[in-house]
């Protein structure tokens, strides 16, 4: 049986839709079309002289060996952040889902990091990892391990991955916890009676039933790692040393805002948008087939 809402007034549905459409137009379509326009122009910083250059900005970007390495770093960074934050969140959610004393307190504490601004979180991490003033940084150096993320690209990348993942763990945790709580107890109890141990129960029942949540989080985490980790990287490493922690979004900012090269920056924005659309489409098309919706 199909239920339909009937609107007598022809205008009302449009009116109800209007705010959402307006928001999309003003905050997405309009700036995005500006970016597309800018990406095919070369312009001075003050916008006084514009030259239409077809796809020159794109060819310049795509033939830049530094851009290719930035792509690679972004891939490593985003996958690491997505996998790490989901794995840790799932572990914590599984533990918090158990019947333990003070579960509400743990749950609240685990959600806290999500309330922090990325820059604040980054400063906290700096106080841990800075070689001179950071607690862990000093300890590592005192132990004879040469820790200095300002000069070691791998260390810098590890640090920003940790910092970016940590913030996302809370978000993933909430969703995993909700997902776990939605799994019918009766199924788990039946498996228990059939003699399945906790590990087997997790992999054959819990994990497949969680897959819609996992899939949703994979998409959200990838988008997060691509776009929202800017503040973390900006506050911790500024993309350095060298270009070791420069992700696509950081370079968009660097070229557009710092270097005043709007053409190159917009071309990268457009490329980034295309990459994200392709990525999300792939995820929905192929990963979703393996997802069990209940």
């Amino acid at each position: 049986m199909q239920r339909r809402v009937i609107f007598d007034n022809k205008l009302l549905p449009y009116l109800l839709l209007a705010p959402q459409v307006a928001v999309t137009l003003i905050f997405f379509i309009w700036p995005a079309s500006q970016a597309v326009w800018q990406s095919v122009h070369i312009q001075d910083a003050f916008g006084l002289r514009s030259e239409f250059v077809w796809f020159e900005n794109f060819t310049a970007i795509l033939t830049d060996p530094n851009y290719v390495s930035t792509l690679r770093i972004t891939a490593v960074f985003s996958l690491s952040v997505a996998v790490l934050s989901m794995a840790v969140a799932l572990l914590l959610a599984a533990l918090a889902d158990a019947k333990i004393k003070g579960a509400a307190v743990y749950k609240t504490l685990l959600i806290w990091p999500y309330a922090l601004a990325p820059a604040v979180a980054a400063v906290l991490w700096m106080f841990i990892f800075n070689p001179e003033i950071g607690s862990l940084g000093r300890l590592l150096n005192a132990m004879g391990y040469n820790w200095d993320y300002r000069l070691n690209g791998d260390q810098a990348l590890t640090m920003v991955i940790l910092a970016a993942s940590w913030k996302q763990v809370s978000y993933n945790f909430i969703f995993f916890l909700a997902g776990l709580q939605a799994i019918p107890r009766s199924v788990l109890e039946a498996a228990n009676i059939d003699g399945a141990g906790p590990v087997r129960r997790f992999w054959t029942i819990t994990f497949p039933l969680l897959s819609p949540t996992t899939f949703f989080l994979l998409v959200v985490d990838m988008v997060y790692a691509f776009c929202e980790t800017f503040g973390t990287i900006h506050a911790l490493t500024h993309g350095g040393p060298g270009k070791a922690t420069e992700t696509l979004i950081f370079r968009v900012y660097q070229d557009g805002v710092v270097n005043n090269d709007l053409g190159a920056s917009s071309a990268q924005s457009v490329l980034l948008m295309v990459i994200l659309i392709v990525l999300t489409t792939i995820q929905f098309r192929f990963v979703e087939r393996k997802v069990h919706y209940s």
């Binding site: 700036p31 003050f46 000069l151 350095g240 060298g242 557009g256 270097n259 948008m273």
Partner: protein, 445 residues
């Protein structure tokens, strides 16, 4: 998606609120002045502005802090695009070429002064300062205000501990290398570091050794300049830093002024950085310290070491479709006040920036400031020790902030041992030249 238009919109909205609150003040001409100095310097600058506001009753200058220098530049550019540029903006020295190429977006100071019948004598300014902000034929494009230069600070206590003469700073690079060796042998974890790696170890190095940083007289001759920082002097110098770093005699402390804190905390025995670091050292250091000019390479120099170049910022006048002659007149009165030697020398003595006018230097001298503060005259002396040449006037390169970042990135690759020094500097030249060509193309008329 980050676009300039959206930035411009929010700035415009902000400017509107400022404008409305300004309208409440009766009949005074209101001038918006955006600056990029954080506390405590920002507060001191606002005191200077207050001094002007109190000195007359026709003009009200509203100073507002817009973030760091690059952020202030972004805000000004976005505001201009939205048709709401501030009357006056403080712009760091490396933004000079970008501002000069901005054409109708700015009003050159010499033109402003001529139109409003005010006087501004370029010869009143120290040549290393005036040259940075003047056209090739000597007309001032911006009003010089807070200028610094880079010098060396050293920890006298650690020098004594290492058996070095605490009253004699290393004057040449070989002497400095020997000193860092002694400091390391005495157990100092960080004998030597540098702030502003590009400004100090490239731009100043080139000026002091009268060696070009770029062709076309460091860009003063035209937009078609090309970088020259893979010349033997630079390779030798950076190789020395990389070698020292490997031996633990030099510590790379990060980009821009990030390493500043390593000296006042007592961790590093020697730092080369902005003369403006002085006020922080005075406040925080718990040891005896000294200031000295930057060292030089005796075998890379003909005659005496030349004057260093400046850093810091100048004040630019921006245009807007709705500007009135009265507003320009008010700006010119503001500038005339700022150019007074007493304002200049007070600012210098309060902050650690160098005096920018000859009269300002004399007034500071006459007040006995240098007798009470030994070493405070080092930056001024280093700036004025020789007549300027085309290699010591400063740099006039488009998008220099971007080039500075490129150099820092390539430098970090060399310090990590990923590439040789020659490869790093060749890479910096190649990438930097791309930036210069893009700027040339975007700004051709």
């Amino acid at each position: 998606m980050l676009t300039r238009r959206t930035l411009g919109l929010s700035t415009a909205a902000f400017a509107l609120t400022v404008g409305l609150s300004g309208a409440a003040m009766a009949q005074k001409t209101v001038i918006d002045f955006w600056h990029g100095l954080p506390q405590p310097l920002g507060g001191q600058l606002e005191q200077v502005v207050k001094g002007f506001n109190d000195s007359q009753d026709k003009v009200q200058v509203n100073a507002s802090f817009k973030g760091s220098y690059p952020e202030t530049m972004q805000a000004a550019i976005a505001a201009f695009r939205a048709g709401n540029a501030p009357h006056v903006v403080q712009m760091f020295e490396v933004g000079t070429a970008t501002m000069m190429a901005a054409g109708p977006a700015i009003k050159p100071v010499h033109q402003l002064m001529a139109e409003t019948g005010a006087a501004l004598d370029p010869k009143a300014y120290i040549p290393a300062v005036a040259g940075y902000y003047a056209t090739k034929d000597g007309r001032m494009m911006a009003l010089p205000f807070n200028s610094s230069t880079s010098i060396m600070f050293y920890n006298k206590d650690l020098f004594a501990k290492a058996g070095l003469d605490p009253n004699k700073a290393p004057a040449t690079w070989p002497e400095l290398v020997a000193a860092t060796k002694a400091l390391k042998a005495a157990g100092v974890a960080c004998p030597f570091t540098t702030s502003w790696p590009t400004w100090v170890q490239f731009e100043q190095l080139g000026a002091i050794h009268d060696t070009p940083f770029a062709t076309q007289a460091n860009g003063f001759g035209g937009l078609n300049a090309e970088l020259k920082i893979n010349a033997p002097l630079y390779v030798k110098h950076i190789q020395m830093l990389v070698d020292l770093q490997k031996d633990g005699q030099f510590k790379y402390g990060g980009r821009d002024n990030k390493p500043d804190g390593l000296f006042p905390s007592g961790e590093c025995a020697i730092i080369q950085g902005s003369s403006g670091l002085r006020s922080r050292i005075v406040k925080e250091a718990t040891f005896a310290w000294g200031a000295a000019p930057l060292p030089y390479w005796p075998d890379q120099i003909k005659g005496e070491p030349k004057n260093g170049i400046i850093g810091g910022a100048a004040f630019w006048v921006m245009t807007s479709p709705k500007r009135t002659p009265a507003e320009y007149k008010a700006v010119s009165e503001f500038f005339t006040y700022l150019a007074k030697p007493e304002v200049d020398s007070k600012w210098h003595m309060d902050t650690g920036y160098v005096p920018v006018t000859f009269k300002g230097v004399e007034m500071a001298k006459a007040s006995g400031f240098y007798d009470k503060n030994p070493g405070a005259d080092v930056p001024g002396a280093q700036l004025t020790r020789t007549p300027t040449t085309e290699n010591t006037m400063g740099l006039r390169l488009g998008n220099l902030p971007e080039i500075r970042n490129i150099i820092q990135e390539e430098l970090e690759k060399a310090f990590q041992g990923q590439v040789t020094v020659q490869q790093a500097l060749d890479g910096a030249v190649q990438r930097g030249n791309v930036v210069l060509r893009n700027f040339e193309r975007a700004n051709k008329n």
